[in-house]
């Protein structure tokens, strides 16, 4: 456990989540299970991006304490007290995009089920060659 920094742990978990999701997409034949897999991949990615910004011992980038008031020398000190906010902004956007895509995919699954009567990926392969 000694070499294990928090970042490595978070990144490792994220990578495992992504691989688990992709494995489901590649192996499972049920459409819904594939979309669930992709949702897992999304969650994994969000964890990965946020983990890249993680920094043990630093607090959230909310300057709500008096000590953060605008004072030149605390300005620079503030940089090593607070976590990097940019990855968090990216993850925020990525989550909403993820839910948008998932919603659309599920609509397609519902409509395809209504038309083809089955959720098997093999059933939707008429367009080929």
């Amino acid at each position: 456990m000694n070499g294990l920094t928090p970042s490595t742990l978070y990144l490792a978990t994220a990578i495992l989540l992504i691989l688990m999701g992709l494995a489901a997409v590649l192996v499972k034949r049920n459409l819904l299970k594939m979309v669930l897999g992709l949702s897992l991949v999304d969650t994994g990615i969000h964890l990965l991006i946020a983990a890249l910004g993680a920094h043990p011992g630093r607090t959230a980038p909310i300057l709500d304490d008096a000590k953060y008031l605008a004072d030149p020398h605390t300005l620079l000190a503030r940089v090593n007290l607070v976590v990097d906010p940019v990855p968090q902004a990216l993850v925020l956007t990525a989550i909403v995009i993820g839910v948008g895509v998932t919603a659309l995919m599920l609509s397609y699954v519902v409509r395809l089920y209504a038309r083809r009567g089955s959720l098997d990926i093999g059933e939707i392969g008429r367009l080929k060659w």
Binding site: P6, T13, L17, K28, L36, T43, A60, V99, L119
Partner: protein, 79 residues
């Protein structure tokens, strides 16, 4: 302390594997919701409250609901 993180990650991965192997899609959706919830707790640990709230509200809450609605309109059991 790293132990708490490790515990959360283990639960998270277990839920993930369970979700993928589970045949009943409702259970599978709920487990993915659990994974999202655990990840939002991790976000808190990382020091990203905004992201934690978003992940909890949208990831755990809404995604799971959408999945359940979709399962309801198709088939519950995976052939």
């Amino acid at each position: 302390m790293i132990i708490v993180d490790i515990l959360i990650c283990l639960v998270l991965l277990a839920a993930g594997v369970g979700a993928m192997l589970q045949r009943n899609l409702v259970a599978s959706s709920v487990l993915v919701g659990v994974v999202s919830l655990m990840v939002s707790i991790l976000f808190l640990r990382i020091g990203a409250p905004d992201v934690a709230m978003t992940e909890a509200a949208i990831g755990a809450g809404l995604s799971t609901v959408i999945f359940l609605i979709a399962v309801r309109r198709t088939e519950e059991e995976e052939q």
